[in-house]
């Protein structure tokens, strides 16, 4: 029953399978991304209050939502690393951290660009912005720890543990920040996801963009994990075979 699970943990199997999936994922993402982007940028009607600024949402919301998934992903990979000592899980966790940090940074940046015309400020200590910022710090911490520990094995375990501790903390941080903020200032309608008020012509492209950005995340993660696999397994025979074949 567990066979598939352990086979999934074999870097070689993952490398071969992901090589087969990648073209399909790329095609799917390109189609979804271009449909979503063109629809969102050209055909979605202007918002009656926000005008064209609303189009930033089509990048911001997908990027922000996937960056929230990053810590749980790393924590799950961390548990697998610590419990089953699966090398692939650690490679995925290692690659997910910088990608997640980039996505968090993009979410913050697009939020700031959106905030400037709408709120009149680049930055507000709004609950979501703040917890996003702290998540960014946590990811930076994981990356810093990874780069500070020389032994890859110890780094894997240490980062796995830190990711788990962080993942337990993320909800606590989120709720404490919300609690702090709501007491600080009266609730403001800063939130962007009032989907109920939007018609399908607004949210259908958003859903497409969410899928496209998720795929983009997955593809980046796969590509980066494949690199990591090649680097770590560079002494194993199958990697040498691949390299030898490519040179021919």
């Amino acid at each position: 029953m567990w066979q598939w699970f352990f086979r999934l943990g074999s870097p070689k199997w993952f490398y071969e399978m992901s090589g087969k999936w990648l073209p399909w994922l790329l095609v799917l993402m390109t189609v979804l991304m271009s449909v979503g982007i063109f629809w969102a940028l050209l055909f979605v009607p202007q918002d009656y209050q926000q005008g064209d600024t609303i189009r930033i949402m089509y990048v911001h919301v997908p990027v922000a939502s996937i960056s929230l998934a990053c810590f749980p992903l790393m924590a799950v990979a961390g548990v697998i690393t610590l419990v089953w000592k699966m090398k692939l899980a650690d490679m995925v966790a290692k690659c997910a951290a910088p990608i997640g940090a980039w996505f968090t940074a993009v979410a913050l940046a697009t939020g700031a660009i959106w905030g400037q015309p709408i709120w009149g400020t680049w930055w507000a200590w709004d609950a979501r912005l703040t917890s996003m910022l702290i998540q960014f710090f946590l990811l930076i911490g994981v990356i810093a720890l990874r780069s500070a520990i020389e032994s890859p094995d110890a780094a894997a375990k240490a980062c796995a543990l830190l990711a788990i501790v962080g993942a337990i903390n993320v909800p606590i941080i989120k709720y404490s920040v919300e609690w702090w903020n709501t007491l600080h200032q009266p609730a403001s309608d800063f939130s962007m996801d009032e989907n109920s008020a939007f018609g399908p012509e607004i949210w259908v492209p958003l859903v497409i963009m969410i899928f496209a950005v998720y795929l983009f995340f997955v593809i980046s993660l796969i590509l980066s994990t494949r690199n990591e696999i090649l680097q770590r397994e560079r002494r194993s025979q199958w990697v040498m075979d691949i390299v030898a074949n490519e040179k021919v």
């Binding site: 610590l82 702290i134 710090f137 946590l138 930076i140 911490g141 994981v142 810093a144 720890l145 500070a148 520990i149 110890a154 375990k157 240490a158 543990l161 830190l162 788990i164 501790v165 962080g166 337990i168 903390n169 606590i172 941080i173 404490s176 920040v177 609690w179 702090w180 007491l183």
Partner: protein, 245 residues
């Protein structure tokens, strides 16, 4: 706990000398006592966090303003942030000396549950570096013109909050204990984790000085303390095993 330790040692006739039968509680006490003794013999370690706390707090009037009204507004946050930084700075000597002289390895090899050993080290560390900061805080709050109503809240929230800072910090120290330069990386890892404590603690003091009821703040801090008391030493123990290995 001691019974299970005895059983395993007697049921495994490995030809070794029998493990000295020490109960977990007395091992806990011994670790606590040893750490306290070492700390008391190194007066500087005792004084440095306090001095740091004092200096950082006195930077706020210099950097912000000497206007009493302005200072009153930031007093709660300033004292809390300084306490947070002081506890962060003192963390470094939580496991380092033990790591360097090898006694940490002995601790990991001992048959005692590591949770209690780490907890003992945490408690002694807090008594040495956390408690003095808590006790000094009213004086510094006075220097920042914190309203008198909030003094008790400040002391009580620090009393509940600084152990959480130590417990969270210990995880970071345990993860980085084997590294050459760890001062900054420790702060980068640990500071984001301490955000909830800072938010709740500083908010409680600020609310108390405004006369707002703060029962909920205590409850939240207490919950954080309970959570970190039960989980953080486990994480620290696991991290120590990773680092020392």
């Amino acid at each position: 706990m001691s019974d299970t330790a005895n059983n395993t040692s007697s049921s495994q006739p490995l030809g070794r000398a029998p493990i000295a039968q020490v109960s977990t509680f007395s091992a806990f006490k011994a670790t606590l006592k040893r750490d306290l003794l070492i700390a008391l013999k190194r007066r500087n370690d005792l004084l440095n966090p306090l001095m740091f706390f004092l200096i950082v707090v006195s930077l706020f009037p210099l950097g912000v303003s000497s206007d009493p009204q302005e200072l009153t507004r930031i007093a709660a946050g300033a004292v809390w942030v300084s306490a947070l930084l002081a506890s962060m700075l003192s963390l470094d000597n939580l496991f380092r000396a033990d790591y360097e002289d090898g006694s940490l390895e002995q601790l990991l090899l001992s048959p005692q549950p590591l949770y209690f050993m780490v907890l003992a080290k945490n408690i002694s560390h807090w008594l040495i570096s956390g408690l003095p900061v808590v006790l000094l805080s009213p004086l510094l709050a006075y220097m920042l013109y914190l309203p008198a109503d909030a003094y008790w809240t400040l002391v009580l929230t620090l009393l509940l909050g600084t152990p959480v800072l130590s417990l969270f910090g210990a995880i970071g120290v345990a993860l980085t204990v084997g590294l050459g330069s760890r001062g900054l990386i420790l702060a980068v890892i640990v500071l984001p984790l301490t955000v909830p404590v800072l938010i709740i603690g500083a908010k409680a003091v600020a609310d108390a000085s405004l006369g707002v009821p703060i029962g909920m703040h205590y409850a939240l801090l207490g919950a954080l303390l309970a959570l970190s008391l039960s989980l953080a030493p486990l994480a620290s123990a696991a991290a120590l095993k990773i680092s020392v290995n």
